[in-house]
Symmetry: D4
Amino acid sequence: MQNAIVGILMGSDSDLPVMRKCSEILKNFGIPYEMKVLSAHRTPDETIKYTEDAKNNGIEVLIAAAGGAAHLPGVIAAKTTLPVIGVPMPSSLMNGLDSLLSIVQMPKGIPVATVGVGNAENAALLAIRILALKYPDIQTKLESFIEEQRKKVLSIKIEE
Amino acid sequence: MQNAIVGILMGSDSDLPVMRKCSEILKNFGIPYEMKVLSAHRTPDETIKYTEDAKNNGIEVLIAAAGGAAHLPGVIAAKTTLPVIGVPMPSSLMNGLDSLLSIVQMPKGIPVATVGVGNAENAALLAIRILALKYPDIQTKLESFIEEQRKKVLSIKIEE
Amino acid sequence: MQNAIVGILMGSDSDLPVMRKCSEILKNFGIPYEMKVLSAHRTPDETIKYTEDAKNNGIEVLIAAAGGAAHLPGVIAAKTTLPVIGVPMPSSLMNGLDSLLSIVQMPKGIPVATVGVGNAENAALLAIRILALKYPDIQTKLESFIEEQRKKVLSIKIEE
Amino acid sequence: MQNAIVGILMGSDSDLPVMRKCSEILKNFGIPYEMKVLSAHRTPDETIKYTEDAKNNGIEVLIAAAGGAAHLPGVIAAKTTLPVIGVPMPSSLMNGLDSLLSIVQMPKGIPVATVGVGNAENAALLAIRILALKYPDIQTKLESFIEEQRKKVLSIKIEE
Amino acid sequence: MQNAIVGILMGSDSDLPVMRKCSEILKNFGIPYEMKVLSAHRTPDETIKYTEDAKNNGIEVLIAAAGGAAHLPGVIAAKTTLPVIGVPMPSSLMNGLDSLLSIVQMPKGIPVATVGVGNAENAALLAIRILALKYPDIQTKLESFIEEQRKKVLSIKIEE
Amino acid sequence: MQNAIVGILMGSDSDLPVMRKCSEILKNFGIPYEMKVLSAHRTPDETIKYTEDAKNNGIEVLIAAAGGAAHLPGVIAAKTTLPVIGVPMPSSLMNGLDSLLSIVQMPKGIPVATVGVGNAENAALLAIRILALKYPDIQTKLESFIEEQRKKVLSIKIEE
Amino acid sequence: MQNAIVGILMGSDSDLPVMRKCSEILKNFGIPYEMKVLSAHRTPDETIKYTEDAKNNGIEVLIAAAGGAAHLPGVIAAKTTLPVIGVPMPSSLMNGLDSLLSIVQMPKGIPVATVGVGNAENAALLAIRILALKYPDIQTKLESFIEEQRKKVLSIKIEE
Amino acid sequence: MQNAIVGILMGSDSDLPVMRKCSEILKNFGIPYEMKVLSAHRTPDETIKYTEDAKNNGIEVLIAAAGGAAHLPGVIAAKTTLPVIGVPMPSSLMNGLDSLLSIVQMPKGIPVATVGVGNAENAALLAIRILALKYPDIQTKLESFIEEQRKKVLSIKIEE
């Protein structure tokens, strides 16, 4: 695999089944990525180190999954100028509404691009829309993806 | 002004005072933008036309503000491959939580990068992080902005 | 079947089990209908085309199911003068409260007649109340339906 | 004024400022209506009597405003086969979300067509979409209304 | 059984498993009651008739269970001067918070004594506290019940 | 004044303006009451002492107002067999929904009869419905109150 | 076992499976504790007695679990000057958000240190952070615990 | 002033008016403290540095105020073994419920002792209860404070 241009972080490997849906889309688009477990609270130093180095290591977009207090995307966004996409994880208290609010409500100055709860696919596709501005082959694949998606819906026939 | 590379849409001019905070940041960064009132419900045809043409007209990022049912960012995202940033507007029912949920919860396949309710500044700064991947001068300005922001916090002294 | 006078739309065939409860009531009342999968986001052009043509094709009431961001009923209502009934689908985040708010909170000027979350039966019965204003045989059947419903409740005996 | 074909009810005259926005739209469309204060809880007998007689008195659509426990639209819908439109009133507890849920969540069998909280305009416009199925002149006026609305949005120019 | 002094109503026999917990407590206290399925929406006339006659038939407290729009307790309270206890039923949308708000938020003038969602036991025990003011033997049984309850908690031993 | 038969408690005199609406209704009905500031948290011993003595002192119904954590009604209900009516106070966090839930959700065994947020009038009227079971003159006054209330609604005329 | 320095209370033994996670951490740290079922509502006198004596009996931190109306931590905090940690239990109505609000929203003057819903581990670890201020060996164990936790996260490898 | 033993942090000086209520109570108790503006997002490095050094600098309890995404208390708790008290700030979206959830819902392993929204007084009093375990004079003052508080409530007389 080439050097990763997308970094996917999550605070616990319990988030992995959801985030595999993110990495699979990147893989289908042929976009090199790396995926790591790093916690804002249990491994704060390593999380900060990874983020500080990300840009120099060739990363162009960061994707971070988090649930509950959900600090990871914001902690990362504070330590990089790269676009950071936050994926709120479903939670037992509020099905992820709490995670969503902890991620999307960043103070003015430090944005996190937030997608729907558990919607790891859209995190990948948002990274792809961003990268497509720079990489024409990603743009081409994105257009095919949308066309296939359209055809899939139109092919559904409801039987009486 | 050069050709706009950021398009800012809103469904009603009542959103303008909030969205001016978005355009001001772009202006401070020297990023050419255009700002329009177009409604997903009251001018659906014109909204679709604008979006279909955006990429060919040189737009690289779209920002859309909406409140309540808040369909505008999603309607736009369905008609372009550009990154779309959604800004939920405060609302009388739920202070904008309803707007946020209508925007962030896009179905799989069509992402909208969502920021906090009324946080038009972060919509601009997210667009800037995206554009900084391509434009080195925007990257430089972004780094200065973050440094100034840091200094501003550190300069606050609490008097007893 | 005669030409449909009720059009039932949904964004995904995962909504079909719920919406069958809508079409079954229409069938029981002998009201011709058609049911289609069309997505506001994945097939925007086909959705708009269907809606623009609905009135000329003899449709008198449109029923649209949607969940999450739930844009379909509003997108349709923006492209027709027919009464549009929105059916919010249950969702994983808020059991459908989010879908309800995305549907019912249309801006002034473009109403969507909203029923309870997942209450596809009431969407059918609301269409029937509307059509009963014009079609005396539907009015007669509606009165019988309500009388039967009354008798069903009264027939329940609680055993000690 | 001709015999009313739309009946507008509200439980308290504190709802009148909101519901005037409903009656004004009907007046602008030249649709005869009547507006009354009748409470599901404080005048239950008179409310039921009014509703039982509504159809025979020429009413074709009923609009009911209610807040808090918000029983009025449902109580009416239980005593008529006419389409009933419910307008949730803003409330001090939840800004009207409580009113909305009390109105929209009718049990299967007795629908209430619900609009957004305080959106009395859309209640009128929904009644108009329903009546337009039967009355061609109302249909004509509805099309003009939508066209004017479109033009109004397009006329907005944002000044730099 | 003697003439009932407590009337228990519910809109659907799906509420019966919950409400049996109410009637069982009354039975244990030796308080005569009757339990009926009557719907505010599907059998409005019979519901009103039952309530109008309740006092003359010897009923002293009415208990009504309802879910969703949950109009039954309020509709009853509007037609009697007896104390009415409302039991919000769990619901699919909000686990019964919606039912609770539809019941507890009665307008000024017509109170419904509301207990917790699905807490049919407490509805019985509240009726018992009310009746104990008049019937000394119920007071005696209530005191025993509370003492037994106390002993039950104190008897629990946590093993290491 | 005769010996009080209704005791009204509140945790802070900031609740007094709301609870005066409760005591005024009792006064209008000629029902002797007493009103005290006692806090479950700041004066736990005095609160318990008052409640333990209430029945022997001739109190028949207790009304307790509380906001936020809102423990007062429940703490009282645990120390008496009298019916306890809880009045949730409006709060800054959730307008009183939090207070409502802290009051209404008592564990099985210890009921609190809960009314709407800030609805001190209905607390008085619920006490009155309870006392009317025992005191025929209160019953007579209650019937007059309801009739007056009815007439007041019917006297409202909407002017065009 | 030495004299307990942490007292763990819960209102019902249904809370025991959750609270065992609290006592297990204390056991692992070698901190003597005692665990009791005491209800604020069903055994108010015994609860107060236990709390009044706690300090003299050598208790230094109290932990109380409660759900729904969730009065236990607040009732205890009103009767001691020891730090009280509240653990909101999951509930059927709101998954524990109601419990959390009933616990955390104590009036000014009587604090309860609140942890996340069902997060009995963090209640133990908060007690440990408090006790570590006084007991150097607990401080040493706390530092080891955090280091182990860090290593555990870093040891996770995501396989492709 | 002696060396501070309580550190009070906030992300913005807009939190100062609320947090002054915290520092005033500490001052009244004669407890040395320091108060600083440090942002988890705008000054991440300085925030971490301060926290890493806190214990060695003599700090025994940390209090952190934060609103919205509200990461500050959690970010601090990840970098110290001292007890950390979180004060959720009122917010425009949800009056601080969002802040509360972002603070209280820390993952297992890293607790934050959370108080009510905006309840800076209770943050101080919780710090005081913790410090009173070690410092007998603080314990004495705490007992006086509680006694004064009791007397203040009992001195309130309600006039008719």
